[in-house]
């Protein structure tokens, strides 16, 4: 009995000497919350945003930057990371990674798949890290921007994106799933810079009232892991509406009479039914949505107390959604994309038919038509019911 304790203590003490690598004091490791990957011929440029905790939490030792971005090239991501690690005095901790930013060029060259595989395989990068892409700038540049609101850009980007709702965003395994599945093309959120890049990379950016900052731009549409087209954020929201993943946003419509506008704030949107009909070579897709929301700004002339007006408004919103969705579809058709997953709905309803069209679906989608019908519940028309005069 006693020698058991003895052996145990010897073993554990011995293990201290043999494996130091697992143990890191908090001041021996530096944490990164955002990882950027950019295109490089035959490899990658990896940029790692290492944060300076003292600066961010306000316990200043030296007046240094809240975070440092290290950049290194490598044929694999790991060699690049190793190079970064060689350049820093501390142990790199990637386990806190919250977002992986892919540079636009990398996405356009179709390297998304490799990255996703890498993240799935990596023991360090957590499975729930979000993957986004950039528009206009390199990932490494965007990571260098000083964030005026949250203190460090990784958190700012994450919070900006999280506001959209969890369902809209994608982590590595979800992207992998969409890559595997037929009949749906991936769409990933992208970020872009508002303001001057040079100004944003300067610390003065923190001291001005009009800083350069990172914004959520919308969704980038991918085809087989290659970035094809950026949608602006309003279009993106309508795109996500048909995927059943949208949360509160404003739909502006024209009044039943006249050209004035009114705003409808959408709270909940769900796809109730998806159907498709094949007539000759024309695919027509019928979506029935369940929407609920409020009437906000109201410039029209109808009396809101009148149920008749409400139903007229509903028709108008319906029309807006229908036209918006068809606009997105036509954009997609131009680029031979299927971000709605129309092919997928064929596959699940009629696998036989799907097998016939699978190969040339990207061209056949040009014959697709969307027919969106929304069942709208207006929960609240406001405390003051505009009579419209």
């Amino acid at each position: 009995m006693k020698y058991l304790y003895f052996i145990f203590i010897i073993l554990s003490v011995a293990s201290i000497f043999f494996s130091q690598e697992d143990k890191h004091e908090l001041n021996q490791s530096s944490f990164s919350f955002a990882l950027g990957i950019d295109y490089e011929k035959e490899g990658y440029t990896v940029s790692l945003q290492l944060i300076n905790p003292g600066e961010i939490s306000g316990e200043k030792l030296l007046n240094n930057s809240p975070y440092i971005v290290y950049k290194a090239k490598g044929k694999t991501i790991d060699t690049a990371l190793e190079k970064i690690s060689m350049n820093t005095s501390r142990h790199l901790d990637l386990k806190q990674e919250q977002i992986i930013v892919l540079g636009e060029e990398l996405a356009r060259k179709g390297r998304l798949k490799e990255i996703v595989e890498y993240i799935l395989h990596s023991p360090d990068i957590p499975a729930n890290a979000l993957i986004i892409t950039t528009k206009g700038n390199k990932a490494s540049e965007l990571l260098k921007i000083f964030s005026p609101v949250e203190g460090y850009s990784a958190l700012e980007i994450t919070n900006t994106l999280n506001k959209l709702g969890r369902h809209v965003l994608n982590n590595a395994s979800e992207i992998k799933v969409e890559l595997l599945e037929d009949g749906k093309d991936i769409s990933l959120p992208y970020i872009e810079l508002k303001g001057d890049l040079q100004k944003g990379m300067n610390r003065d950016n923190l001291d001005t009232t009009t800083p350069a900052h990172i914004v959520f731009g919308g969704f980038g549409l991918f085809k087989d892991g290659t970035l094809k087209k950026f949608l602006d954020y309003r279009d993106s929201l309508f795109l996500q509406l048909l995927n059943g993943k949208s949360s509160g946003f404003i739909i502006e419509s024209t009044c039943p009479a006249g050209s004035e506008k009114f705003a409808f704030k959408l709270f909940n949107g769900a796809v109730k039914k998806k159907e498709f009909k094949l007539a000759h070579d024309n695919y027509s897709f019928q979506y029935i949505l369940n929407l609920s929301g409020d009437i906000r700004q109201y410039n029209c002339h109808g009396n809101l107390k009148d149920p008749e007006t409400i139903s007229q408004l509903e028709t108008q919103i319906n029309k807006t959604i229908q036209s918006k969705e068809n606009k997105i579809l036509s954009i997609a058709q131009d680029h031979e994309l299927d971000p709605f997953g129309l092919g997928h709905s064929i596959k699940s309803k009629d696998p036989k038919a799907w097998r016939n069209v699978e190969k040339d679906w990207s061209t056949r989608i040009k014959n697709a038509r969307l027919n969106v019908h929304s069942d709208i519940t207006i929960q609240n028309v406001g405390n003051y019911k505009s009579r419209g005069d």
Partner: protein
């Protein structure tokens, strides 16, 4: 050896729950059946229920004796003795395999750089400690660890569903039922692990106090375990997708890694780690106890030194754990392909079936 009854049925049930769920739930069994893995798990549960009742039937027919006694009574002294030794080594081997499971697991989730030697030996010393305290405290501790495990298992599904990572569209709509695929998943892998491994309890059952309650109590445990395994495979598939789930080493850990709870706890996979460690600890210890009991019964007539026998078994376990376990892939490959065919099926199904046949024939002759 005449066993003193020590164990209450409740504690035995908890040991069985931990034995069945602990490692199986983390290793994500039956995920090969894709979106029908929940069905495969239920099917395996039913088969397991049948197997368990078969074991209990054998035990009841042989006057509630220990495994060694049953084998000698049915196969004669010499063949019975050899089969008993085979069982002792088999249990030791499974113990060593689970030991390797946990070492690989700890190395890949918690301590990436720790030398496996230290992990293997530290947990092994804990097992020796447990053995030195005796069967009774070990079985009792199952209640406490069982309550922890079950409460975690109750919480995790809620977290998964609430976190919004569960995609019902990964599973629905059900395509045509691929019966072949399900059956291939269930037999033999899913039936033998974890349900068939219940044969190890034949070595522990003589210590049970309430002998009559076993059939009902054990069956309840198997039903609950099968349902839980089924729920968890359903959730895992829903989070990770049918095509991807099977390619993870520890699907449940990855599943839970996706959960972010109330914005504060980013990672809950520590829960899975705790469940797995508890499960493995119980499995190794149960197998070690069983192996030692069988070996002790076998050598009873030679009056072997008790201590040296026990030490021998421990050395066998640690030695076997170095057999074909250089890397996890080889370990898993052997576990999925060779072990079920060569060890599990003969020792978990064929031998018990033979015993039942013999008992039947003898009953007819008498």
């Amino acid at each position: 050896m005449k066993a003193k009854p020590l164990i209450g049925i409740m504690e035995m049930q908890f040991v069985m729950v931990l034995f069945l769920l602990g490692s199986a739930i983390i290793l994500g069994i039956g995920l090969d059946a894709g979106e029908y893995s929940w069905l495969a798990n239920l099917l395996a549960g039913i088969t397991g229920l049948f197997l368990f009742n078969l074991y209990v039937y054998i035990w009841n027919e042989n006057r509630h004796q220990s495994l060694n006694f049953i084998l000698i009574a049915q196969f004669g002294r010499h063949i019975g003795f050899i089969i008993s030794i085979v069982y002792a080594v088999y249990f030791a081997y499974i113990a060593s395999r689970v030991l390797n499971d946990i070492v690989h697991f700890i190395n890949s989730t918690l301590l990436h750089n720790m030398h496996p030697f230290f992990i293997k030996f530290t947990i092994f010393i804990i097992i020796i400690y447990t053995y030195s305290k005796g069967l009774e405290p070990f079985v009792r501790s199952a209640v406490i660890f069982g309550l922890v495990t079950i409460s975690f298992l109750m919480l995790i599904p809620f977290f998964i569903v609430l976190s919004g990572n569960f995609h019902i569209d990964y599973i629905l709509p059900f395509h045509s039922l691929d019966v072949k695929k399900i059956v291939r998943t269930v037999f033999p892998a899913l039936v033998t692990f974890p349900y068939g491994e219940l044969i190890v309890f034949l070595a522990l059952l003589p210590f049970l106090k309430e002998k009559k309650a076993l059939v009902k109590g054990g069956s309840i445990v198997i039903v609950i375990s099968a349902i839980l395994l089924s729920i968890f495979s359903f959730l895992t598939i829903g989070v990770l997708h049918p095509d991807l789930a099977k390619s993870y080493s520890y699907p449940l850990v990855t599943t839970i890694e996706h959960i972010g709870l109330i914005g504060f706890f980013q990672r809950l996979d520590i829960m899975a780690v705790i469940i797995f460690m508890i499960g493995c600890y119980f499995k190794i210890t149960v197998f070690t106890f069983a192996s030692i009991f069988v070996a002790k019964d076998c050598t009873a007539k030679w009056k072997m030194n008790h201590k040296s026998l026990v030490s021998a078994i421990f050395i066998v376990i640690i030695a076997l754990s170095y057999l074909y376990s250089d890397n996890n892939s080889l370990h898993v490959k052997i576990g999925l392909e060779l072990v079920p065919a060569l060890l599990h099926v003969p020792l978990q199904i064929v031998v018990p079936a033979l015993i039942v046949m013999f008992t039947f024939v003898r009953g007819k002759l008498a």
